[in-house]
Amino acid sequence: MIPAVVAQILLLLFVFFMLLNSASVMVYAERKIAALIQQRYGPYLVGPHGLMQPLADIIKLLFKEELRPLAADRFLFMLAPVISATAAFAAFSVVPFGADTTLFGLLEEPLPLVVADVNVAILVVFAITSMGVYGIVLAGWSSNSKYSLLGALRSSAQMISYELSYGLALGGVLVVAGSLSLREIVDAQAGTWLGVIPRWGVVTQPIGFLIFMTAGIAETNRAPFDFPEAEQELVAGYHTEYSSMSFAMFFLAEYVNMVTVSAVATDLFLGGWHGPFLPESFGWIWFLVKMSALLFFYIWVRWTLPRYRYDQLMMFGWKFLLPLAVVNLLVTAAGVLSFVG
């Protein structure tokens, strides 16, 4: 028997290492899927089918020289990647990824599969993600380079514009579920209608799901919204001046953020760990499957769509996505009031 505190700490370490791992898996998947889409082989030389490629990438990054521009603000230049990476990891801490488990009788009390069970979990994710933008903005400013600064300015404008739609899309789900706790939102999606249609958020909130995924791509700075690092215009955007491990931390943060957004979307819209065929204790397999599908979608979108123009991004965010999100929330609230409340 393992005491609850030890189990909690072990879970914390497990989640941390799985997130670290997920970044390298994502790097490999991204390169392989990109290759598939572009009819190439992708990484093939390091290990069988290039499986050791992420390891090689990490070793390469570790042994690069750490450079710092002479005119950079030293303290903030060092701090920025740390903020980015910390925010990325911290956001996942309130995301539940499975039902309570005793690990087949190994534990006395069932352990919830979430690092920190907070009753305002979804807002905590939102708050921590909004802190992540400081990493990018400070990186851009402290580098003292025009490309970095432009990348950072674009990033903060983009984040502010899309955070609103992102939050309003969340609002729709919260109104339907009547709770701010991710655990309760997932449990509200258990079961089916008429035996076939799952009670998932994506069924009750299809428009909310689309808004959430679109804004999520913008929030994580992925193509077609990758303006902060648009390489054809800004060299590498906010991380132009970064090298070696501090660059790797931004890289890590980007992939962990993708995993977090996909995990949150799974919990909010795809029924979390609920699914047919598998018993409750194996629900995490469903969670992984759904999350991987969303991550595949992310990569697929990146290698399919070209980057928007910056004014198109702003037009789309403010004149289309935001009004749509407002209407969606209003209609949802009216529906809940008239049918449920």
Partner: protein, 177 residues
């Protein structure tokens, strides 16, 4: 209890020190960052008060959204570090200092009066209601029913301020077009 008290002094102290350092910085970027740190410490205090919703809202609205705008503006203007004051010729009229002094004293007296009034305040609500008061439902009810008028008036005020700011900045280019 003692752990909670220690945390209270930690967050309270951090908030006060960070706020004081905000006005002591030469570089406005650091001022903005310290203000964010101060908001973070305040959010910690809200958590200690069993008001997690308030804490998270504090982070999302102030530290997350408003301060990003501040940082955005500071970066856009690229304000250099402030020069020491003794090399700058002071142009303000003599009366300004006196007026400022009087206003500062008035503010101090008001603050003292407000603090004195708050001590031992009892509005009839039982203390156990604190957790209830902080729930999302209760906040929503109070905000949109009891204080609905103040809430709506505030939003109009903010819109007026925004429209005014846009109008002021567009005055020159508007004349040409």
């Amino acid at each position: 209890m003692s752990g909670e008290l220690a945390l209270f002094y930690l967050f309270g102290g951090a908030a006060v020190v960070a706020s004081l350092l905000v006005i002591g910085q030469r570089n406005p970027i650091y001022s903005v960052l310290l203000l964010i740190a101060s908001f973070g410490a305040l959010a910690g205090l809200y958590v200690l008060l069993d008001a997690p919703f308030m804490a998270v809202t504090q982070i999302i609205v102030y530290a997350g959204a408003i301060m990003v705008l501040f940082l955005f503006v500071v970066m856009l203007l690229n304000v250099p570090a402030e020069a020491p004051i003794d090399h700058v010729e002071l142009h303000e009229p003599q009366g300004a200092r006196w007026l400022g002094g009087v206003l500062a004293v008035a503010l101090l007296v008001e603050l003292g009066w407000a603090l004195w009034r708050v001590v031992g305040v009892d509005d009839g609500r039982p203390v156990a209601d604190a957790g209830q008061l902080a729930s999302v439902l209760e906040i929503g009810r109070v905000l949109f029913q009891e204080y609905a008028f103040a809430f709506e008036v505030t939003s109009i005020l903010i819109i007026v301020a925004m429209v005014g700011a846009v109008l002021l900045t567009r005055r020159d280019s508007g004349a040409g077009s």
